[in-house]
Symmetry: C2
Subunit: 314 residues, 2 copies
């Protein structure tokens, strides 16, 4: 088995911020890339950026060996069904932010054996092809979800084509993890901005500074995208929000007991480095299939011409 990914002819379906950035990167790396988007303006923008374009996968899917799907989750069932028909020889990878529902849609579309879920952990406050750029998803963490598709090939693809560190894990685990580190922060930020916007304290906005700016950075933007992201991961996110609600109530109760509050805050300080800079015990990855067959989450990266892996500590 080659140590490099096997994909040469790629279709990217949905050329928004993420799909556009995927297409630009792969095109720049010399792959044969065609962008599929139903929106004429989006296609015009992609064509102006030097990309081949098509209005539907039916026009271009027959010879593709990889289809990257970057549409909203609510379009996934239809798009994946189209992949099954129009790209019969392709591995299909979707790059959305929730993976249990995506895997279910892939099964329903009849993509068993050739679907792999992925999720690049990057983005901007913008959306649309016009804001996409080739480096957006480069050098970041990419979640790759275990399943019955060619996971090893997709791991090699994100590691090679995006210089990614792949985080390989189960779909449910992915959804719980991103509920915690991505979706919950969006809820907290919006709740804080919403409460301040109610205007009960009219001076508050005039006094807002660093901690408010940081804490609300991702809020109050792109309501539809945020709604989809949160609602699509409702089950996992509800659990995280319940936990956060309990924690915030605990902080509130401890305001009157500074010693207890101080001990809690010190424990957060003590644990901060392990969260912000999680360690990894990197080892040579001589047999990727073997490493991927383990049950726990693992990290994969390329260092020069060799793959390395590390277990994620449980």
């Amino acid at each position: 088995m080659s140590s490099r990914h096997p994909f040469a002819k790629v279709a990217v379906v949905g050329a928004g911020l993420i799909g556009g950035s995927v297409a630009r990167r792969l095109h720049g790396a010399g792959l044969d890339v065609v962008v599929v988007d139903p929106d004429p303006q989006t296609r015009a923008g992609a064509a102006a950026a030097g990309l081949a374009v098509a209005a539907s996968l039916g026009e271009v899917g027959a010879d593709r060996d990889l289809v990257v799907v970057a549409t909203p989750l609510d379009a996934l069932p239809a798009v994946l069904a189209e992949c099954a028909l129009a790209a019969p020889g392709a591995v299909v990878v979707d790059v959305g932010s929730v993976k249990v529902a995506a895997a279910r849609a892939a099964d329903a579309a009849g993509l068993a054996g050739r679907y792999v879920g992925a999720h690049p952990m990057a983005g901007t406050e913008q959306s649309g092809f016009a804001h996409s750029f080739a480096d957006l998803l480069v050098g970041v963490r990419w979640a790759v979800v275990r399943g019955d598709g060619p996971v090893a090939d997709v791991v090699r693809f994100v590691v090679d084509a995006f210089a990614a560190t792949a985080v390989v894990l189960d779909a449910a685990e992915h959804d719980r993890a991103v509920a915690l580190v991505s979706h919950a922060p969006h809820v907290l930020a919006n709740a804080l901005l919403e409460l301040t916007g109610r205007g009960g304290e009219p001076s508050a906005a005039h006094l807002a500074a660093g901690s408010f700016g940081d804490g609300t950075r991702v809020a109050g933007r792109n309501a539809e995208r945020t709604r989809n992201m949160l609602a699509d991961n409702a089950e996992a996110l509800a659990g995280v929000l319940e936990d956060l609600g309990e924690l915030i109530a605990a902080y509130r109760a401890e305001l009157g007991d500074p010693a207890v509050l101080g001990a809690r805050l010190q424990s957060v300080v003590d644990g901060a480095a392990a969260v912000r800079r999680p360690s990894a015990d990197w080892r040579p990855c001589d047999d990727l299939d073997d490493v991927l067959a383990s049950t726990g989450p693992v990290l994969i990266r390329r260092v020069e011409d060799r793959l390395e892996w590390a277990p994620v500590d449980r």
Copy 2:
């Protein structure tokens, strides 16, 4: 009455991040500044930065016309009592982050008529004189609290010496506003970092990216300072945390009703600009005392040689 502040001989008590930055700025502006700090190392650092130093206000307070107190709130009663004795001719301004308790301490210390509470809305993740710098508090919002002291002189002081926009308001209103835009963000950030650090989702830290970094920036640092800030403002903060808990529960409930969730998120988008960039209807301020006599919060700034004011919309 001069349009410029009347202070020439200043003592800064407590030369940490904030006090040190105040002292550096005033010294650089040509004022006669002496730094008072009980810690020999802090005094040595201040002296190396070219500042006059003293171990106690008793040594230097007699001729001061302004004392800026930048000590933690739990030291305020003792420091303000020392101000009353050792700096009998000085206006006393404290720059801590809660103002109701500070005003109470000033009253108890016998500073009626010559105490004014203030609060510059800036800081860094660092602490201590070594991290202070002259520009830290320049060009930012400074809350100045109404009371029986010379509020107009202190407004002129922060506007002139720090190129500040002063936000003049009542102590209780200040404490509620900063609970919302400063203290609550610290609780949310710490709660999110704490929950992630529990390790129930070991992949989470490896998948954390922008929204998590933004949402936890101020967390997991300086437990003692954070504890003091939160606990000192317990009453106002408890109310804000209760409101946030209810809001987070509402988001959670609406995860299953995307139309309602989407409408809520859109309303946050619609209101975001007014919170992030609150408008102000600036007018000439010909009589500062008159403007300050109004009951609502007001903004004051200097444009070239003239003061301007704006009401804070209620």
